[in-house]
């Protein structure tokens, strides 16, 4: 089953953020919904009685200290929408012996017939190389496109993982610290790519300035509770930093 792949739009605006006014009356089911839910392990839940609703089109940053439960939360959200959402976890999950190209291509394995994938593994199709090259170029991976992933630096590996997730071309992007190992300039490029190509975005981030710039809603977590949930319009970086204090 080979489905035609619609190329993602190449238009990127510098600041794609435009906080959408949440419609007061919504008959539609929200994209993500947690109602008084406990998440974690049976003996020791990370969250108790958690309520969280995320609508289509929102760009949500989840902030909080390390160990606050951000990863657990986004993974739970991903499991709710694993069909329509692309997920980029903290573990890059690269196959060390495969090239950057192949690792990125893996984001699309489900869109092609097995035989096509098999041939592409042994000898990449030009069409696929042409499709993946621009993406790799934007992430600064062009020169190592056919290097095996185990030769890459930590930051390069993370960019490959992001590229693989981008290539899935889903409407929702869920990322767990997708910029933790890259520098400031690259961070901005990556966030720009993610937010411009996805309708709904949920990210856990440590960098509060970038969270404010690229997202339109911030969810702050502390001690197993949602301590803050607000549109970015009303927030300042210093307010967010208070979440990191005990």
């Amino acid at each position: 089953m080979i489905q035609p792949h619609s190329a993602p739009s190449e238009t990127t605006t510098a600041m794609p953020i435009e906080p959408k006014p949440a419609s007061p009356i919504s008959f539609k089911q929200p994209l993500f919904q947690l109602e008084s839910q406990s998440i974690g392990w049976d003996s020791k839940p990370v969250f108790e009685n958690l309520d969280l609703t995320i609508e289509k089109g929102e760009k949500v940053a989840i902030v909080g200290k390390s160990g606050a439960g951000k990863s657990t939360l986004v993974r739970t959200l991903y499991q709710q929408q694993s069909k329509t959402a692309a997920y980029c976890g903290q573990e890059y999950g690269l196959v060390p012996s495969l090239s950057v190209f192949h690792n990125i291509y893996m984001g699309q394995l489900d869109k092609h017939h097995f035989a096509y994938n098999l041939v592409n593994l042994l000898r990449p199709f030009k069409a696929q190389v042409d499709k993946i090259s621009p993406l790799a170029e934007r992430l600064g991976l062009q020169e190592s496109l056919f290097q095996s992933a185990d030769r890459l630096s930590g930051g390069q590996q993370q960019r490959v993982a992001v590229a693989r997730t981008l290539l899935q071309n889903k409407s929702t992007f869920i990322g767990d610290e997708p910029i933790s190992s890259v520098d400031e300039v690259q961070s901005e490029q990556i966030l720009e790519l993610i937010t411009s190509r996805h309708n709904t975005v949920i990210l856990t981030l440590h960098n509060v300035d970038l969270a404010l710039r690229f997202c339109n809603r911030i969810v702050g977590i502390r001690n197993g509770k949602i301590e803050l949930d607000s549109s970015t319009k009303n927030l300042s970086a210093s307010q967010l930093r208070s979440l990191y204090q005990d």
Binding site: R75, Y78, S82, A86, Y87, G89, Q90, E91, Y92, G93, L94, V95, P96, S97, L98, S99, F101, H102, M106, L109, D110, F114, N117, L118, L121, L122, R123, P124, V129, Q142, E143, S144, L145, F146, Q147, S148, D150, G154, Q157, S180, S181
Partner: protein
Amino acid sequence: MPPVPLLKPDSFSRFQSTGVQKLSLSLLLVAIACLLLADTSINTSEPWQEISRIGLGMLTPTILSAPELFSSLATTLAFALLGVSVSALLGMLLAHLFEWRVVRVVSAFIRSIHELFWALLFLQVFGLSTLTGLLAIIIPYTGIFAKVYAETLEESDQTAYQLLPPQTGRWSSHLYARLMTALPQLIHYTQYRLECGIRSSSVLGFIGLPTLGFHLESYFKQGYYSEAAGVLYLFIAVVALMRFWAKRRFIMPLLIMSILWLPFQTVVNTDLILRFFGHDILPSPLRQYGLSSIEGWQQTLSWSITLWNEQALIGSWNTLILTQIALVGSGITALLLYPLISPLFFTRKKRVAGHLFLVILRSIPELILAFIILLITGPSMIPAIFALSWHNGAIIAHLIGRYTEIIKLRVDSPKGGNLYVYEVTPRIYKPFLAFLFYRWEVILRESAILGILGLHTLGFFIDSAFEELRFDRALFLILITALLNILVDSISRTIRHRLRLSTNPNVQSREI
């Protein structure tokens, strides 16, 4: 100053096959070429009839004479336990001296000759005795243990060894800092070798020693397939249940029982030994003219050339052809079978069946497997190809299948064929190739020995020479086999080194 070659910045921006891919492809092409050259005819008039008779026998196993069967089972186990224990001790001794070239050369030589060839040699001197069986296992196994133990000691953590007081004696430092560091791996390997020892010991029955192979061969030859199935199932059960009886605390009692069980009253005839090693195995022209005659040496040269042209060349050629086909066959078998025992592909319940299948496939000695297929297809390379590929493939599948247990997949990893092709196989491919190359020399040794079933590899000519009591020819051909084996071993080592193939798994994704 010579110009520094500029690193091309785009050297990784275009697709090029990696060394591993090129190697795999060329092995495959060589194997296909060999397959075209090999004799792959089916020479029986009604293979299906034979298959159904064997199949019927396998479904209705019976035991002809229980006391006789259990006696030969006890002999099989006693040979294996004693032989493997003695060679493990000797091998450990040699492993600590492995930096000496002479130790490396000697152990390479003694392990390059298959245990059946050793048995055929000692058979001439000690007859069908305990000593023959034990020596046939101890000598090659010592060489194997020496090499593997030495490699294990080398690869284990050296920190403790380097931190010892500088005046520490050689043996104390080896004992405390090297042996003890690597002990778990060494024990694990020794247990695996015991399994091989049981296989070797039962195969010794093919040349007449009273082990299980003796009954297997005679039942199969006479077409008593139900009785053969009974022996085969008993053998598989003993190997499959090894982890229950081959425990550390049972080893001493088992060894004592083995010594008590085996008859040791061999009459060692010194004259016979001297005659055999001092006279019978010398090239016939030398015997005729005496060692000091120039004429004798000249004749020996032309004797060697004739023997080389008439037997060794064709034998080596066929052995190599079979080896290359079986090497690739084993690789393909292993890659197809490893998912059977991998938790990434099958549930626990289904994996039990997979494990059982692999145990059965790998515990049947390749000689017996080939013998069974031979009954169906008649003499050609087909039985040897299948037997070697299945047996060695099942062993490698078992090893790499276990590696997949520690692979951590990402949450959104692909499924089915894509999981197999993109996620799992690439991660285990290098260790897989390393194991395959380790087995290259094993496959060559086995290819040579399968000649005793009638295909014209080196074993066929060696076996005929022994039958004609031409021990000089047998020895010459055995030495050719050993040289071929050492050659393949060194090529394999070079390739593993070049491509940095290691059996250590490189399967885990990077974690933060």
